[in-house]
């Protein structure tokens, strides 16, 4: 720590810091374009030139390290004139098309030009023009406006992990362009829009829509994954128009995934349900809320409450409802005398589920030195977790992967184990045995049959030798026969090696569902049992059976039963809903309702509604409250959702105890891992046209090895379960890895 003098003010600086870090901390404004505090320093825009005493030439503040006794002036004539000169050069080739530029009003170049440029240009020669290239459905380019700050290039190289944008040519012919024809494919690409200081990269879905000053920004939480990225929801005239990142160093830093950024497109999709509907004698009729709610109440009374002999009421919810909605639905059912609530719709065998508690904070992931990634493609499924992992990898951490298929990670993988689920379980068991052997501890009976190889010992040693290791379990293994075994093995291994665990198999807001007790207790039926036994009535909260159930066909058939009364609270139209439901109540979607999201580290983030719900659409928590009132249930006198939140928080169950019994099974036959495309995990994403147009949104492959294909008698021209077959050698034997978009899910069977 030493003192330096900036503009006559004595300030403290740490050795190794750059000048601009100090000026930013002290609130001294220095103009800049290429510098960004989350990116490396390139010092190529030269806008931050300041006068350092002793130096003959002005020095760029972003790349000048501080030294003891340094005297800097950011505002004297020398600094000012060099900044003005740089500005003039930057504006030489910048088109003055601010009026039609989407960046206008939030443009760093515009802002800086207001104070550092002259009114009249002295450049009378022709300006450089660069043809635009189509770089995908998310980002609009206008490269004539580019000032070559290379923030996007550095973002690709340093944050996204794939250097998709790059500079070609030199001097006047320098162009920033994507290297590949396919354009930008990163799952974090939207951040380039935020980074770009000019209008060269702008949002394509938002193109020509609004000016930044027209919108209100509301703080919100993105709920598509279990990270809960902090966002600003920008609204205009009661409609969500754009989502941008909000800084939160504990969760998402300044980045958000494309999924969080562009999903808001779907909110105004024509498929939104607009009015409550009732099925009278097989014909759907739009009605008013009063009618629909009274009709539902009467049906519930008739089918369930007054029907003492056969009173079976079930509630199923998707994993992206809010904490409040889970709590209210659970409370409603409990008061009616039913314990049948479940959100685990996509799990084949609910007696064999993953129970693993996460005990690492998201921000700590970047500090680990060893990570074992089991059954997860974090890059697409949890982009912000992947970003932290990548950071840890850049910091020197070793990353090992155990999965049934090899994926295109954007971080260096040390060793990759491509195994099917039984093999994974066995590998973990052998590793545990190796760990116990090296620790000279007692070997439990179930490990007797395993022989420890050198490779296992190596894996065990990596876990044992690292100070801060983490085992990350993803969602690929949720439907394997050994899912609970794998989870238990991981938790024992983590305990023995004092590693942290991170359970990414709970996506969306399912951690909130779990903590509010939305899973059935001993008396209740779980989702699969409900579907198997004929229920008298269901309340479905934001459930889209075609996508949400592990076996959509049988689920729809069960719901369709004539004797079953189904109240569907949905925000989007789904072709099937008219088939199985009896009442459809349109509910608010993301950003239209207030609520709470619990992320993977247990952080409960409450958010308020960014916009009001459209005319005849109500927030689900209000619908449930009124339904409870109509049923004459007590304790539903909530005036706003925060009352529900505080009540729910008091009853939250932390770390539910579960047994760690291990009983390894060898899977016979072909194992299907059905992993929805990351842009079709919830209804809003499925209705976001821009996301669906991306390469990731159109993922539609059933990958399998050649031998598996042979055993299934398939070739790469066939479809398997409605999904095109891709024969790939990076898939484990006896495994079919299906990654499918919403368009084609029709025969989903896990």
């Amino acid at each position: 720590m030493f003192e330096i003098e900036i503009d006559g003010k004595i300030v403290n600086a740490n050795p190794g810091e750059n000048l601009i870090t100090v000026t930013d901390r002290e609130g001294i404004s220095v103009p800049r374009f290429c510098y960004h505090n989350k990116l490396s320093v390139s010092a190529n825009c030269r806008m931050c030139l300041v006068d350092v005493e002793g130096a003959t030439k002005p020095q760029p503040a972003c790349s000048t390290p501080v030294s003891n006794g340094m005297r800097v002036s950011t505002k004297n004539d020398k600094a000012k004139s060099s900044q003005k000169a740089v500005m003039e050069f930057l504006l030489i080739n910048h088109p003055l098309d601010c009026p039609i530029c989407d960046q206008g009003g939030e443009c760093e170049l515009q802002d800086v030009a207001m104070s550092y440029s002259s009114d009249v240009s002295r450049f009378n020669e022709g300006k450089r023009v660069i043809a635009d290239s189509d770089i995908g459905p998310l980002i609009q380019t206008d490269m004539t406006r580019c000032i070559h700050c290379t923030r996007c290039v550095r973002f690709g190289a340093e944050i996204a992990g794939i250097m998709e944008m790059g500079g070609t040519g030199r001097g006047d012919s320098l162009k920033i362009e994507p290297f590949l024809q396919e354009g930008i494919q990163s799952e974090l690409s939207g951040n380039m829009i935020d980074l770009c200081p000019v209008g060269a990269l702008t949002s394509k879905p938002f193109r020509y829509e609004l000016r930044s000053w027209q919108m209100n920004a509301v703080e919100g939480i993105a709920r598509h994954d279990s990270v809960g990225s902090n966002i600003h929801i920008q609204t205009y005239k009661g409609k969500v128009k754009r989502v941008v990142a909000r800084n939160n160093d504990n969760i998402n830093e300044t980045w958000i995934s494309d999924r969080d950024r562009f999903s808001c497109d779907g909110l105004n999709h024509e498929n939104r349900l607009q009015k409550p509907q009732i099925k009278y004698d097989g014909v759907w009729k739009e009605t008013e809320w009063d009618t629909a709610l009274v009709y539902s109440t009467k049906a519930l009374l008739r089918e369930v409450i007054d029907n003492k002999e056969e009173s079976k009421l079930g509630a199923l919810a998707s994993n992206n409802a809010t904490l409040e909605e889970y709590y209210l639905l659970r409370k409603l059912l409990k008061q009616v005398g039913s314990d049948n609530t479940d959100y685990r719709l996509n799990i084949k065998d609910l007696s064999n589920t993953i129970n693993l508690d996460s005990n690492i904070k998201i921000k700590d992931i970047e500090n680990i030195d060893y990570a074992l990634l089991v059954g997860s493609y974090t890059r697409l499924e949890q982009p912000m977790i992947n970003h932290r992992l990548r950071k840890s990898s850049l910091n020197g951490a070793t990353i090992d992967v155990i999965n049934s298929m090899s994926f295109n990670y954007n971080l260096p993988i040390n060793s990759e184990y491509i195994l099917n689920s039984s093999q994974i379980a066995n590998l973990l068991a052998r590793t545990l045995k190796a760990i116990l052997l090296s620790k000279e501890q007692e070997i439990p009976g179930y490990l007797d049959k395993f022989k420890v190889s050198d490779a296992d010992t190596q894996l065990a040693n990596k876990l044992l030798s690292s100070d801060k290791s983490a085992i990350i379990l993803g969602e690929h293994l949720i439907n394997s026969d050994n899912s609970s075994n794998i989870a238990n093995l991981i938790s024992i291994i983590a305990e023995k090696t004092s590693s942290s665990t991170l359970n990414l198999s709970e996506t969306g807001n399912s951690i909130a569902a779990k903590s509010t007790g939305f899973v059935p207790n001993e008396n209740g039926l779980d989702a699969n049992e409900m579907l198997a036994s004929k229920m008298n009535a269901y309340i479905l909260l934001d459930v889209y059976p075609k996508y949400d159930f592990h076996n959509s066909v049988s689920a729809i058939n069960a719901l369709r039963d004539e004797k079953t009364f189904v109240i569907a609270l949905n925000s989007f139209k789904d072709s099937d809903v008219f088939d199985y439901a009896d009442v459809i109540l349109p509910i608010s979607s993301y950003y239209e309702t207030s609520g709470t999201h619990t992320n993977v580290e247990g952080e409960m983030q409450s958010f308020s509604a960014a916009v009001g719900s459209p005319k005849d659409i109500k927030p689900a928590w209000k619908v449930l409250k009124v339904l409870a009132d109509l049923l004459d249930l007590s304790g539903f006198n909530y005036t706003d959702s925060s009352k529900v939140t505080s009540e729910a928080k008091q009853q939250i169950k932390q770390n539910i105890e579960h047994d760690r019994e291990i009983n390894l099974i060898n899977t016979k036959g072909v194992e299907i891992i059905w992993q929805p495309s990351p842009y079709s995990t919830d209804a809003l994403l499925r209705h976001s046209n821009s996301l669906q147009a991306t390469k990731i949104g159109q993922l539609n492959t059933a990958s399998m090895s050649a031998s598996t294909a042979k055993s299934l008698k398939l070739s790469d021209t066939d479809n398997y379960l409605g999904v095109p077959v891709v024969i790939s050698e990076v898939v484990a034997d006896k495994c079919v890895f299906i990654s499918s978009s919403n368009e084609t899910i029709s025969e989903k069977i896990s």
Partner: protein, 163 residues
């Protein structure tokens, strides 16, 4: 004492009242300055700020590019613009409304416009018969621009010397 007496005399002879009446009597026979409006008109400055119009380029292309600067600068929030991408990919307005009930005719929109699309004409004698007539839509504004093309071009030319 004398002054007081004088004042009493003045008051009781209604001196000042009569003087006042003589003034009005004089004006009664003076030349009248009334301008018979629809038949006669007083000259209007080229900077006069009357009803608005949207202009087109000589090739028929509308000038407005939906930059929304006029909307931003409007002190009365009278302008509402919705922008969209036209089929040819250019940035255009899908809605351009001026609420004449809100408009204060300050002319800031004209000043702010980078392409001289929105102008205020010299027309001040307009009327509307329904409430929604108070909102000038894009169609109406372009019509006004079309109908008064010559007059607008002329006034802009006259004023250009001083800009």
């Amino acid at each position: 004492m004398l002054n007081k007496f004088k004042k009493i005399i003045k008051d009781f002879t209604l001196n000042e009242l009569l003087f006042g009446m003589s003034v009005t009597a004089k004006e009664l026979v003076n030349t009248k300055i009334t301008v018979q409006f629809p038949e006669e008109r007083t000259p209007i400055s080229p900077r006069f700020r009357g009803i608005h119009a949207l202009r087109r380029y000589p090739n028929g292309e509308e000038r407005c590019i939906a930059c929304k600067l006029c909307e931003a600068v409007c002190p009365a929030n009278a302008i509402t613009i919705e922008s969209e991408m036209r089929e040819d990919g250019s940035r255009r307005t899908s809605q351009y409304d001026i609420d004449l009930f809100k408009c204060i005719f300050c002319g800031f929109c004209e000043e702010a416009c980078p392409v001289d699309a929105i102008v205020e004409t010299q027309i001040f004698d307009y009327a509307f018969e329904s409430r929604d007539g108070s909102v000038l839509t894009k169609k109406r504004l372009l019509e006004i621009g079309e109908q008064n093309k010559k007059a607008i071009d002329q006034t802009k030319l006259e004023d250009s010397k001083y800009r």
